[in-house]
């Protein structure tokens, strides 16, 4: 399920850590990219690069937490693993509360790290999948007329045609015509399908939840 192109992005100001992590993760067969600062990473990374980010919490200029917040506002999928040193645990907990995937304390157990990385890559793939789906739904919905959108929202809300007709001040026949159009444009075979599509659009965020 993981994308073979997925890379492990490492951001740490300590060169030794950077280099040694690369050495470790490469030995586990991961593709690794290293950056000495958050700024370097931001210039190099594009949103559609799959993978996960191993981020040092404490860094000069832009700290790991700041970078994470930035990524969140940009709505990137990229899951983040925080690396903390001694005394930085509260910072990491804050990060987790804000939705980061996990944190790992230095010096770390390589098995644990690898496990987390795998989980993150899976999450990344799922996220990207969802994102693609959402994009498709959004494209479909963009084709609906305003009236059709109205009708769709009422259908999804579970109203009968008659009530929809009354509420919109149109005939039942017209409602039925709109409804058929909506089903067609959205590619839904049933009302249940339509509801699912609508829920996907509204309920799923690209960065996803931390439960996998």
């Amino acid at each position: 399920m993981t994308n073979p192109n997925a890379k492990i992005y490492i951001v740490d100001d300590d060169e030794a850590i950077l280099d040694s992590l690369r050495w470790l993760l490469e030995s586990k067969g991961f593709l690794v990219e290293t950056y000495a600062s958050a700024a370097q990473f931001l210039t190099a990374y594009r949103w559609d690069y799959p993978g996960c980010l191993v981020l040092d919490v404490r860094m000069p200029d832009m700290s790991g937490l700041e970078l994470y917040e930035k990524l969140t506002t940009l709505n990137y999928c990229l899951p983040v693993i925080f690396v903390t040193g001694h005394g930085d645990v509260p910072m990491a907990v804050t990060a987790i509360k804000k939705g980061a995937v996990d944190f790992i304390e230095k010096p770390f157990n390589d098995q644990q790290l690898v496990g987390i990385i795998h989980r993150c890559l899976a999450l990344d793939a799922q996220c990207r999948n969802h994102a693609n789906k959402s994009a498709a739904i959004a494209t479909s919905m963009a084709q609906l007329t305003p009236r059709e959108l109205e009708v769709m929202s009422l259908v999804v809300a579970g109203r009968h045609n008659k009530i929809i007709a009354d509420q919109l001040g149109i005939s039942i026949k017209t409602v039925e015509a709109h409804r058929a159009k909506v089903m067609e444009k959205m590619g839904a075979k049933s009302v249940a399908d339509l509801v699912q599509l609508a829920l996907h659009k509204n309920g799923l965020k690209p960065s996803g939840s931390n439960q996998v």
Binding site: A16, S20, W23, H86
Partner: protein, 664 residues
């Protein structure tokens, strides 16, 4: 030196009582009265005596006059007898009369009157009182002439005034021959003559004599009438003349009277002096009483002051015996006044454990060898607790300007000392705490710093293990990784050494140190934090300095503190301005000046003063000990630490350290 009793000295109430003055007044009054009475008695006695003498003398004078008059009368009777016998002719008459008058000058005229009351003969010739052939016309003369005829006796006329100062008296003696009246023989007395010739000289020296008529009018006066200072007088009738004629004598003041007057004057004078001296004494006493009143009022005020002050007062005499203590002192040491008064060294409140030292100081005080400044002493109270006092000593000088002892005032500084001691202990504790806190912070940073190489080592080694197990690593790559492990292990070791250096506990120990090493070490510490905050630490040292004689760890602590403060102050500064610069300057070969500048928010002018005081902080979680400790450390090294504004913004902390004089 006032008497150290609580009550003011008892003053006799007599001073204010009038009756106290009655005794001397009465005594003096009685004395004067007695003296005057004595004088008066003496005077009277004297007067009486004089009076007696005067009376006797007067009697004698009257006798003399009477005698003379009788003699004269007998002479006239003789003449009359001779005339009656017709044995006396005119010539004989003239001779006998003239002779007689020459011997008795009080008689100025003798004449014979015929029975027909006509003057027949007159002697002396030259007298023109009664011319022969002329009848007697004067009424008193006629009266006397006729009485003589009737009585056949000599009869005196009343005095006939001739001048203001003289009068005449005539005496008529009848001449009978066998019952046949043949006329009279008469003589004229001049009263003046009587006084001048019948009274001897000594008499008139003693008395002023005059003859008075019945109406006490003066008829004639003796010599010495000009003197008026007569005191006594006495008069006596001159019977032979009759007609109320009297002789009066006034005694001249005697010589003894002068002495008496002087005596009186002396007594009066002495009495006056006594009264005056009594008055003066009284005035003096009154002034004294007033002075005593004032003194007592002042004494009361002083007593009140002594009672109210919190300063303990204690006076000792030159032998060290306590001669005075006030209430505050008694309260201080817990011994009562009765117990302390008269106490001799060692005094009851001396600290038994320190008694020798206190005794030495006490005797130095008695000898006046105590230094002028105030002394801090510790005493033991009666209940065994301690009291710290600060003592000021001043010599006690009496009214004769002679030193009688020493007065010491003592303030209770126990509370202050306790506070100081507590403060000192707190300060020590805080310094220790601050050091621990700093250490804790450093340790946290250092733990992070150790974590880095350890993590790197773990990563490298696990990478190696993976490669070796899967046989994927090249020999070079593995070797490279192992070298990197080595490098990281070294890095960790350095960090650990630094921690050990920092934590090692020791007393300030000054050794020659290279300032560059110290500062580089500090920068090594601080850089971890500085990197995290994107702060640049600049250090420029242009010259080489001789080693400084300092405690390396302490100076490092100061530097670290200043650098950390600088870093904290720059948290809000733009990243490109976050620079701490450390500069070293050598000042005049005596000391060096180290400046730590930041570009932070600077220090508010109102905080500048308080900045170095303990517990002052501008940080929300600061303890306010850092700079206080830094200053103590620098001052321990005979340097100075201060702060000033950085001309480029922010602040500059500057401290100096003296250079060791290597030449000597």
């Amino acid at each position: 030196m006032p008497h150290p009793v609580n009550d003011p000295p008892a003053v006799p109430a007599l001073f204010n009582q009038t009756w106290f003055w009655i005794m001397p007044n009465l005594a003096i009054g009685l004395f004067i009265f007695a003296m005057v009475a004595l004088l008066w008695v003496l005077q009277r006695h004297e007067l009486e005596q004089q009076q007696n003498i005067l009376r006797r003398d007067m009697l004698w004078a009257e006798q003399t006059i009477r005698l003379h008059l009788q003699v004269n009368q007998e002479m006239l009777a003789g003449l009359a007898n001779d005339l009656a016998q017709l044995t006396l002719d005119a010539d004989d008459f003239q001779i006998r009369a003239a002779q007689y008058m020459a011997n008795n000058p009080e008689l100025i005229d003798i004449f014979r009157v015929e029975a027909n009351e006509v003057v027949r003969w007159n002697a002396p010739f030259e007298s023109n009182l009664y011319l022969p052939g002329k009848p007697i016309t004067e009424a008193s003369s006629l009266l006397a002439l006729r009485q003589a005829l009737l009585t056949n006796k000599a009869v005196y006329t009343t005095p006939l005034r001739v001048t203001a100062d003289d009068a005449h008296i005539e005496v008529y003696v009848p001449i009978f021959n066998k019952r046949k009246y043949l006329g009279s023989i008469a003589a004229v007395y001049t009263l003046r003559g009587i006084l001048h010739h019948l009274i001897p000289l000594w008499f008139s020296d003693k008395y002023a004599l005059q003859l008075l008529d019945a109406e006490n009018h003066r008829l004639a006066a003796g010599s010495g009438q000009t003197r008026n200072d007569t005191a006594l007088s006495h008069s006596i009738k001159l019977d032979p003349f009759g007609h109320g004629l009297s002789l009066q004598a006034r005694a001249f003041r005697a010589e003894s009277q002068l002495a008496q007057t002087m005596l009186i004057a002396l007594i009066l004078g002495l009495s006056a002096i006594m009264i005056w001296s009594l008055a003066a004494l009284r005035r003096h006493m009154r002034r004294r009483a007033q002075a005593e009143d004032t003194l007592r009022a002042e004494y009361a005020i002083r007593k009140a002051i002594e009672g109210s002050v919190r300063t303990g007062l204690r006076a000792v005499d030159m032998q060290g015996r306590i001669i005075y203590v006030n209430r505050a002192f008694c309260e201080m040491v817990g011994w009562s006044e009765q117990e302390l008064m008269g106490a001799v060294p060692p005094l009851p409140y001396w600290l038994p454990s320190d008694i020798d030292n206190i005794a030495v100081r006490f005797h130095a005080m008695l000898a006046g060898k105590l230094p002028a400044q105030d002394q801090e002493l510790r005493f033991q109270r009666r209940d065994g607790s301690y009291i710290d006092v600060v003592q000021y000593v001043a010599p006690l000088i009496d009214a004769h300007n002679k030193q009688t002892g020493w007065m010491a005032s003592m303030h209770d500084i126990t509370e202050r000392k306790r506070t100081e001691e507590m403060y000192r202990q707190q300060q020590e504790n805080l310094q220790r705490t601050a050091r621990l806190v700093t250490m804790g912070e450093m340790a946290s940073s250092l733990a992070h710093e150790i974590n880095q190489p350890l993590s790197a080592i773990a990563n490298y080694s696990k990478g190696c293990v993976d490669r070796l197990t899967t046989d994927t690593g090249t020999r070079e790559s593995l070797l490279n990784a192992l070298q990197k492990i080595n490098l990281q292990a070294d890095r960790a070791g350095k960090v650990l050494r630094r921690i050990r250096d920092f934590v090692r506990k020791h007393e300030p120990q000054r050794h020659p140190c290279d300032l560059r090493d110290i500062i580089e070490d500090v920068i090594g510490f601080a850089e971890i934090e500085a990197r995290a905050q994107n702060i640049k630490i600049e250090f420029k040292m242009t010259t080489t300095l001789p080693p400084l004689h300092v405690d390396r760890i302490l100076i490092e602590q100061v530097m670290l503190n200043l650098v950390k403060n600088g870093m904290e102050s720059m948290q809000q500064s733009p990243p490109q301005r976050r620079t701490i610069s450390i500069r070293i300057k050598q000042m005049e070969k005596e000391f060096i000046e180290i400046t730590v500048s930041d570009n932070g928010h600077g220090i508010m002018p109102e905080s500048l003063e308080k900045l170095f005081s303990p517990f002052y902080t501008t940080k929300p979680d600061g303890m306010g000990m850092g700079l206080s400790i830094c200053r103590s450390i620098i001052e321990f090294h005979q340097g100075r630490l201060w702060v000033q504004a950085n001309p480029d913004g922010g602040s500059q902390f500057i401290f100096t350290l003296p250079m060791e004089r290597s030449s000597d």
